[in-house]
Subunit: 306 residues, 6 copies
């Protein structure tokens, strides 16, 4: 019965689905399918099914706050609804799922619109890794007539920077690729740094691809504005209550396939950029100070804390 | 007649000889051979020959202050000598060459001795790229009974960090390899940073492998002592008179073999670490403040400025 | 029909009316007059008229968030009211205008009260340019028995510092005038820096007279508390959605009347002081951290975001 | 009639009761007793009595925001209640008192739970002075299986650090005591700094035992996370309106019993740690950025501002 | 007899002669003239006369290290010479004077040559006030084919920046003038800051036109290299022995001609830029770290310390 | 035969002699006495005796560079002398000892003279611990008519600050005592920080009483000049060659006499202040940048490196 959910979880675990946004979409759709396939008699069992699905999906990766918040929200819709008829509950889940995905789409558009305004004409943008929200933003900015240039790191070990530069070249944007450790060498040439986020903590810190915090340090030193581009729902409520955002450590093979025996290879996938290095978070609510993240989430999505 | 010199220069140009120390040794030996092979009648022509050799070797790479200082020194020995007999001049060059190489060897030993004292027992050393002076130092420290652990970056694009970790593993040193952009993630675990130098400027700044200046910034932020390990003769007198130490830019292929058309790849081989990030330079003269480099070189090697 | 509005807009454009507060008062009164003079049949046309007035006044200067927020608020009162009778709408606009101006007056009093408490007896205040809110605050503090001393920059190019020092001398306050670039020389003598604001962005940054951000930097270096004294309604909601607060660039003649041909003179009227340099914003709501500005405005004046 | 209150106030004044938490508890109990002992005829007189008690207790120490907020809250419960019968009002005060104390207890538990999660296994905690909330947190963390080590300053002049280390030794925690001025010497060995708070200002600054702000500076320099552990109700609303949190200055005898005549001894009990040095405040609401303190208090305890 | 010296001193006092270089030249010529005009019998009286001249010239301005060092040097030539014949001593003074001025000229050329190399093509230079050494350097750089752009402050109160921009416009250099307090606004556009020096202290600090230290602070923040362009003989040996370099305070009229009664106007002519803000001093000896100034002066001009 | 030396060493070991200066004097006198008492036949044995004395005295404390340099210097005088007659060697040692002590006295006077000039009238000096060179300097400054005020820390654990304040009170200087951790609280009131030195390293760092480096950090933050007052011969040549200046760790009893069992008490006597926090070293040679220490010592006392 939970097969569609298990398949989705597996895909997420094996990184066949990548990017916080895609992971969330996959999970939402799996929940929607599950709701349809579940043959249960009452709301209690319906909720039980959803709860099981939640457990399976939550355990697919250490942290994926956007996916987790998505699932949380859909379940809350069911819980707070007066509907008891299971058939209607299936429709409700379907509607909720659609609404969530639509909102996600809206956030992307809104962020692109905000970012476009924030990019001055003829400016040089610096980025790290690959973020679909950022590449969409740059596409929109270019379409709106903003002339811009991009400097992108290759982003070891998985070279996601290459994905970014390929997309940019297709848009005809002048693009420069550098090794990660050349960031300081080139920072004085940049007018603006844009990076994505995997998670945002209650203190206002941002978890993103390993190396982001070094780029933030370098940007601060060069007085180059540093912005995080992210949906608000990347906020992880667990950090509120003391949990560290877990830093996933990935296979040494990603760094060196046939490494010598005895060598320790450490491969953390993310690092933490402290709020004081971040000029602002560009989110669907506007450009906000990371220091006020809890209150903004409370105002917009208070259900997150439930 | 200048064939041996031309071959040496070619090897240096093509990076068949690598590392400031090896480049200097190769050049010195080529000069020694040339002296023997030159069939000239008088000191004037002998000096002319050396001068031609100097021009060829100097042009083999943008900057190689150690090699340049080596050649300068040998020629000065000839110039200031009273000898006029060409046969005796050949011997003189031979003696001078041997002396220079011996001094270089002595410097390495002295630096290893100093460094060994400076490493506290059971400490974690952080390094970047590969420096034969540093690996020798760590070997000596281990032999002297210092227990230590190494964290080394992989050092894109040419992965010289792999060379470093292989040598360390052979010595039985606990060694961890990380991607370059994880330096900040791991810096709080390090007790000491050691890096090499390609050149030292008159202001006390150090030119070294791309990424060094970022590691310096990260070390400062974490209050981890950052030392440069280098022979004093890496000092480049041209910087005194306004010349920028040229930053060699290497082939984009090193970063991405089959990169998309239209993509700009920037591949500077070095960056500049400002003196204020450097706790000290460990050199044959002892541990010195980089701010006093000119005067130390004046006291020890005043001929450099001629 | 829009004549009174056009006259007001013209006065604002030509700087016959100066200071955010005075500009707002002028605009509010013009709207009030317009409402009385408009001869329209229904609410729809009434609102159309107000909207036209808004467009004219908004275009009189690049940014004047206080004025813009004032106009926004009055129009919202009309929109959300159930009144449809145009005569009553005129009264409504009049009442709203009076209320807004009264609130503005209250803010000034409240800020003066807060600032008075925050000034320690026998302290030296440093300020830049001229702010009527600050001079009122200092007047009140003196009247309440606080003994204080003022250091003020001359504030090139228009010498508004002279206006400030004249007002202070009338109050019998010991006052020192310096050139702008002597700020760092004198900063260690100051106990407190107070500056005004032209606009506050969603990130918590403050736009104020050119030079303010340098004084902030200097104050931080000397560990001298730096406060912004401003009504909350200087908050500019457009910055939320990505718009840069426009930095007005004024005539070169202000800097050099008969300057040589070919010389470029750049004369930005304002600069941006980042939130991290600001100890607090003294506003009608109390002393707040600039980082929380969006949420404070949401709580107090949520209509601003409409 | 106000005897129990006067006795409580006297105990607080003479420091027979110490620690913000104990002071609050003592005051709440005195209010409860007073309510029972007051023989008044109507609600007006009842409130008059409470108000007198408030004045007496408030004047017992310069600032004790937790106590003040406790008393404020109880009186608000009476004011807003529809009850007029004095007997029932006595019960109401009693209930409110119990509720407040229970909430205080809950906060302590919640903070300990959050803190426990935030402490990584095998980490070294640095603290200053004595905070019952912190010692409780460390006890809980140890009970939950977290292995930790403590470095504590002796905390001149009253050596409260000795109290902390005694409690820790009883729990079997490895504990190191140092003089206050050795904080920088040992900071690189610490993974986390935890300090308490006496008061929190509207700007997000924290008032705590003298020396705290130096430790914060040293922690920042060493990139060691610095957290304040405190109930939200240590927030002092008076700071909002410009009042400086008063820094109590205590007897010179505490520093030097028989000091030479003519010597000035300054003995401020507290100092101010600016928000920018604080990674987060661990409070009953979770881990929050100090920059957002006003809005968090508004959301949770809006009555504080009344 | 000392008339020529007194006239020179008077011109210097009244600022009829301006700029450290011109002041030194005037003093040297006055000494030369005096030597010729003195009618004395023996070397002792000759030296007495020079010593009197020295006293008069030294007292003409608070500090003018270049002039003082010039006079010191000439007198030392006389003292250490074996010549006793007064006629020959006149020739000696004449020769020494010519030599000093020639050396000064050589320094200027050497500095221009060094600076030209240090300026990258197509770069933007930022400067403050007027320095004849810098304008000469920029002229030479332009003649050598370096394309550059200049941003210059107006430099209140005496607008020396206008002098600088006029000279630049004549050379056809693209030049922008800004008010002093706009330095931070424009700093990110600059590639290099060049300022002159009035004096250099034994600690390596530089005394220059008021505002220089603020520009240094701003340059550091933006990671823009900041160089001092100065002859080594601006070094003031008195600072070695504890004397503060006196900061001349000039007439309030320079700032505000008809200022209100009671107003204090402070008009320090110079401020101190600490060595840590200075990337290097471009002097006749090359580009040096300011931290090593004493030893460089000892090596080159050890007579300064006599 | 070595009895006088052994007694001296014992006194030094047991801290019966305190302060680098007194320790050096005691050792010099012991050497002088030894020379007189030794009954040896030839220079070789004479030198042997001195060498033994050196070993005994060197081992009396971990590091005492001033004493060590003193002994080194005396022995060098013997070594380099042509005298072979043992009787004359006794005289030579006596003369050398007297000369050394006289030079030490001269240094003290010179430093006091320099420091007096550097103290502005009516300024507030901040100091830590007790330094006889500093108290002498302040005495001289007061005698020369400088009006000054002193803030001094108590300096735990041995309260040497009390010694300092007692001496100051005798001189009639207005003196304030604070606990060590109040340094940051009072730093903004200070115009100048003066501290002593136990040793100076080749990098230019200063070893002094525990807490000095925290005061340096706090002074930097407040932009208060921080000077080290010390004889140049506190320079420790061993640091040149990699040796860490050993940080003596003293008895836990100094911190807590009857401490609980199981408690670890760490009591390092000194800490390291990095050169970048030091405005200058006031020494007999003048005020110098710590960065140039090696070269200054080379110029003045090159024998130190032998």
């Amino acid at each position: 019965m939970l097969k569609s959910v298990q398949i989705a979880a597996e895909k997420i675990r094996k990184l066949e689905v990548q990017g916080a946004r895609n992971v969330a979409i996959t999970a939402v759709r799996a929940i929607e399918t599950l709701a349809k396939e579940m043959k249960v008699k009452n709301k209690k069992d319906f909720l039980k099914g959803l709860s099981n699905a939640k457990d399976i999906l939550f355990s697919s990766r250490e942290t994926e706050p956007l996916m987790r918040n998505a699932i949380r929200w859909i379940i809350i819709q069911v819980e707070k609804s007066d509907i008891t008829n299971t058939k209607d509950l299936v429709s409700l889940v379907s509607l909720a799922s659609q609404k969530f995905l639509k909102e996600l789409e809206y956030s992307k558009e809104k962020i692109a619109e905000i970012g476009t305004k924030r990019i001055r004409n003829n400016s040089v943008i610096f980025t790290h890794c690959h973020s679909s929200t950022i590449t969409y933003l740059l596409k929109k900015a270019t379409q709106k007539g903003k002339s811009l240039e991009l400097i992108c790191t290759e982003t070891r070990p998985l070279f996601q920077g290459r994905k970014t530069v390929k997309e940019m070249l297709k848009l005809g944007i002048k693009t420069t690729l550098i090794v990660d450790s050349a960031a300081r060498f080139f920072m004085n040439k940049a007018d603006l740094v844009l990076v994505g986020a995997d998670a945002i903590t209650s203190e206002g810190n941002v978890i993103n691809k390993i190396g982001t915090s070094m780029i933030a340090l370098v940007a601060k030193e060069a007085r180059t504005p540093f912005y995080v581009v992210s949906e608000l729902l990347k906020f992880d409520p667990a950090t509120m209550y003391g949990d560290y955002e877990k830093i996933e450590e990935r296979s040494p093979k990603e760094i060196w396939k046939k490494h010598p025996k005895g060598l320790i290879i450490r491969n953390p996938a993310f690092d933490v950029t402290r709020r004081d290095y971040i000029h602002g978070i560009m989110c669907e609510e506007g450009i906000i100070s990371p220091h006020s993240i809890i209150e903004v989430v409370h105002r917009k999505y208070s259900w997150v804390f439930k």
